[in-house]
Amino acid sequence: MHPGRGRDALLRTALTLGVGFILLPLGIVVLYSFSSVAYGIFPPPGLSLRWYAHLLDQPAFGRAFLRSLGIAVAATGLALATGVPAALVLVRGHFPGRDPLQAFLLSPIVMPKIVLGVGWFILFARLGIQGGVLPLIFAHTIVVLPFVISIVAANLVGLDPALEEAAQDLGAPRRTVVWRIVLPQIRSGLIVSALLALLVSFDQVESSIFLTRGENNTLPIEMFLYMEKWQDPTIAALSALLILFAFILVVGALVVARGAADLRRILPR
């Protein structure tokens, strides 16, 4: 027997089992969205589209989806507008306190979201900014900001400063250097960070649960509250649509960013 074959089989089995484990809950959600009964029994006794029909009867989910989408876009925009300049300073700047500043700007990643959520709830209540999407946009901006900064900074580190210096020597003002030399080179990093920010914002529960009050529920909150009360496959139908949406987004992103290499930069090492 070939000496490496045993380990080969072992690793391939691990890979198959792992992929199965990862896909199982997503697959079962899609299957149950077509179930004919409300209770969770395997296999479902029959197939139907009634839960999709039931979903259409609940316009709150549709409104929450659009609201979540709007909040995600606004928070991502705000995080990019403030985070990209910050990343530029963190990579190209030399000043005392740069490392502590970076640690501070990235710290919301490990901050328990529920703690931040209560903090925002109290702050916005005192300021009288309650309801609507503004508190949620502010909250999500802080949550996604460290992802934008770390990905953009990781991309900036790889750039050759000589290109920027050459442009400056040739008389380009700093503004032109940033827009024409720096940003085009980190285009894929910007796209990846924006997509990750959109996804992270779209998935906020803990940070937002105290900021929503029914009229301004985001989609995950709407689903979470529905699930606390009922467990019928309406949520499965909605989830199946969301999985499809995420799939289209991921495939689109991979096509745009050309390859999964940039996925590596998503998390700080």
């Binding site: 890979l15 809950p25 300049p85 300073v89 709830f121 702050l123 689903m223 991921v250 998390l267």
Partner: protein, 283 residues
């Protein structure tokens, strides 16, 4: 391009204003409540350490802290034990770039679906008549359905699934930067495949294991959705206490519990960073 002086200040201005107003201030405004007192459904704005004293002397708080640490610890260990072979197999056994791309999408697609959706998936899978119990019954491994929902087991299984991508990602990325000639050198010098793995590959990928572990641990420690929906009230962890205290308008208790949660997260990050500095690195 050099960035310094007024330019640096101008570029940092917006982000500093934003984080000061929306990160530092809300945390401060909230956590300061830990030094107030909660009595008869109201917060008394007196300065006191009573709430801390109550937290530290209540055996129930130690139970919550130990449940939280246990849950985060088990989930992290499971995610790393499953994630390492997966990352390794993905790195060494999948040759074609296309297959690797497809698998990468598969491994990371849970990240793209909401935590609520994934938790719902496990709710269906782990039910008494769900897929897991039905399969175990058919295989005659069990005689009656195992209770996997609304207890610790269900939360552990579901959270491990949620954390798995965070374990795989850093390990996979370190494996990618590993110089293959190191392992070949070990083999040429007479090490068997297992020895080469244990003595060369594994130690050099420990930084990835450590960073994956710390991400899993801190995220599992502050997880709220899964323990709330699958714990059935039997898995009392710190984030749930924070949530319940806030709902009861008991901000002082919530603030003290939050600080405990925060301290444990920071401690975990600090400890792992210390360990990371002593580990061998991939040159």
């Amino acid at each position: 391009m050099r960035v310094r002086g007024w330019l640096a200040a101008g570029l940092l201005g917006p982000v500093l204003a934003l984080t000061a107003a929306l990160y530092v201030v809300p945390l401060g405004v909230y956590l300061v409540n830990g030094f107030h007192r909660f009595k008869d459904g109201r917060i008394l704005r007196v300065w006191t350490l009573d709430t801390y004293a109550a937290f530290l002397t209540d055996p129930f708080s130690y139970k919550i802290v130990s449940t939280s640490l246990l849950l985060a610890g088990i989930v992290t260990a499971l995610a790393l034990l499953m994630g390492y072979p997966l990352a390794y197999a993905l790195h060494t056994r999948v040759r074609s770039a296309r297959a690797r791309g497809v698998l990468a999408v598969v491994l990371f697609c849970p990240l793209m679906t909401s935590v609520v959706v994934r938790t719902y998936g496990w709710l269906i899978l782990l039910a008494n008549q769900g897929l897991v119990n039905t399969t175990l019954l058919r295989l005659r491994l069990i005689d009656e359905p195992v209770r996997l929902l609304f207890n610790m087991q269900g939360v552990v299984i579901s959270l491990t699934h949620i954390m798995l991508p965070f374990a795989i990602l850093p390990i996979y990325s370190v494996l990618g930067r590993l110089d293959p000639s190191l392992k070949e050198a070990a083999r040429d010098l007479g090490a068997g495949p297992w020895a080469a793995f244990w003595r060369v590959t594994l130690p050099l990928t420990l930084p990835g294991v450590a960073s994956g572990g710390v991400i899993c641990f801190t995220l599992a420690l502050s997880a709220f959705v899964t323990p709330q929906l699958l714990g059935g009230g039997r898995v009392q962890v710190l984030p749930l206490t924070v949530y319940n205290s806030t709902v009861e308008i008991n901000w002082p208790e919530g603030a003290v519990t939050s600080l405990a949660l925060l301290a444990l997260s920071i401690l975990a990050v600090w400890a792992v960073n210390r360990v990371l500095r002593r580990l061998p690195t991939v040159a």
